[in-house]
Amino acid sequence: MAYSDKVIDHYSNPKNVGTLDKSKKNVGTGLVGAPECGDVMRLQIEVDDATGMITDAKFKTFGCGSAIASSSLATEWLKGKSVDEAVAIDNMDIVEELNLPPVKIHCSVLAEDAIKAAINDYRKKNGLEELVFNEKAVH
């Protein structure tokens, strides 16, 4: 399977690989996927409590090149967005940006799930109600 240039670029030079301190109250962590399924994504956001802006985002991903690229792209998009804006990131935006083929759409869904899981983790830590998201049907 041929990968798009953008996937190759994110795979070769991934943005924002790393770990944020999950003990901090303003860090939200989302861990999605399963080793048995061949991909696990961990996405973290750090939020400025005063402004509600995402000041930092990091990821680590076990998976194929498309999964790595999807999470790398997600962290790029998250930085500088407000938490409310981040909720609106849709997996199909990732598919479009990275030119993912149909068999790799699940990678983008995983990235969206990871964003939402990180946001909910942040909300939970800060006494806010967790948001309820509709399941994507693509898995």
């Binding site: 080793p35 048995e36 699940h106």
Partner: protein, 405 residues
């Protein structure tokens, strides 16, 4: 100078040896005759070339030339052997024994037979990939007509105890068929010493052309017959109709001859390179060889690199190194290898494996380059892997509630 890309997927197919191509060329143009044309020199020449190749092929596996049926390849041979025996020996029984790590051409043929009313036992394999001989013997019934167990596995290279298997089959009056596609030409295979009744193999796995293979069908002790699966002119003693692929057959014959003459030295040289590759890659933490390491083809290594995913790993170097994360026949799917799962590997380890298939044209320089590239990519991806971080921190990953999807 190292020429890129490096080819290490010789279990999928091998490059053709230039000496094979040279032998074939005249049979496309000058000597183009139909080997079944009995009335003119064009036919005679073609027939002579086919007869000669049939001897070369037979000699590689210790058979009589009359016992060689030319086919289009191993998949056809698998189909012809299994379906052909099933139909020919229907009055004797309808039960076949095979094993779960067989190639799809065997497994799917067996599934077909089950649909048409036959019964099939799929033996499990042990952790090292070998079948349990006691289980084999226990599975034999009065209605068993065929044991179909591969000589060596295409994904892990494990060599089955063929002589023990044939002894058990013989003791119970059951025919023994083996798919020797990965073994023939690489290690000594002898239908007499090994007690094989039917055997299939293919040209393109042994430096010959694609689209040509052979099915060995024993003629003595016992005389075995298979029902033809294609109707037509009754070529190949009535077992396989269709105009003979003369250039392919000539090339296949030459390839068999080269393998027979050069097998010992090739196996020794390639085995040393494989061992070097393996030893160096096992210097990485959490890297494991899959399958039995003693009873194994000399040119194959299947290694799992825990906490990195195989497809992601391949992407790190697949522009420069041709490798596979499973068999070529199943790599279109995202499912982990059924062979590795049959060896008891968890899905996570099965997702983390690479198959290295060395060959006649593999050089030490290529192996050194591969070790370097694969090692670097594993290290890089582990830095990116949340599972590696958890492993480092001593997190028990079995206790995490993963979101299965």
């Amino acid at each position: 100078m190292l020429k890129l890309p490096v080819y290490l997927d010789n279990n999928a197919t091998t490059p053709m040896d230039p000496r094979v191509l040279e032998a074939m060329l005249p049979y496309f143009t000058e000597h183009f005759g139909n080997a079944a044309s009995r009335n003119h020199p064009f036919g005679w020449e073609a027939e002579e070339a086919v007869d000669y190749a049939r001897e070369q092929v037979a000699q590689l596996i210790g058979a009589d030339p009359k016992e060689i049926i030319f086919t289009s390849g191993a998949t056809e041979g698998d189909n012809l052997a299994i379906k052909g025996v099933y139909e020919m020996y229907a009055s004797k029984g309808n039960h076949i024994i095979t094993c779960v790590t067989e190639h799809k051409a065997v497994l799917d043929t067996c599934k077909h037979i089950e649909k048409s009313g036959g019964e099939v036992t799929y033996l499990k394999v042990q952790e090292d990939g070998l079948i349990d001989l006691k289980e084999l013997e226990a599975a034999i019934r009065p209605t068993t007509i065929l044991v179909a167990i591969m000589y060596a596995n295409n994904e892990v290279g494990v060599i089955q105890p063929v002589r023990d298997i044939s002894a058990i089959a013989k003791k119970h009056g059951v025919l023994f068929f083996t798919d020797a596609t990965q073994a023939a030409g690489k290690i000594p295979v002898d239908v007499q010493k090994d007690g094989i009744d039917l055997l299939t193999f293919s040209g393109h796995k042994m430096y010959g052309p694609k689209g040509i293979g052979a099915l060995y069908v024993r003629r003595k002790n016992p005389r075995v017959k298979v029902t033809a699966q294609m109707d037509g002119g009754g070529h190949e003693r009535g077992m396989r109709s269709g105009t003979l692929n003369v250039p392919g057959i000539v090339g296949f014959g030459k390839a068999c001859e080269l393998c027979r003459l050069e097998m010992a030295q090739d196996a020794e040289r390639i085995g040393k390179l494989r061992d070097k590759l393996e030893q160096n890659l096992l210097k990485l933490e959490e890297a494991y060889v899959n399958g039995n390491r003693q009873h194994r083809l000399p040119h194959v290594a299947n290694i799992s690199f825990k906490y990195v995913e195989g497809e992601g790993l391949l992407m790190g170097f697949n522009k420069n190194i041709a490798l596979s994360s499973g068999s070529a026949c199943t790599s279109a799917s995202l499912e982990p290898s059924y062979v590795l799962k049959a060896l008891g590997l968890g899905d996570d380890l099965a997702h983390s494996s690479l198959r290295f298939g060395l060959g006649r044209f593999t050089t030490e320089e290529q192996i050194d380059y591969t070790v370097e590239q694969v090692s670097n990519t594993v290290l890089k991806l582990r830095e990116m892997s949340p599972l590696w971080e958890m492993f480092r921190e001593g997190v028990d990953m079995n206790k995490i509630e993963w979101a299965h999807h």
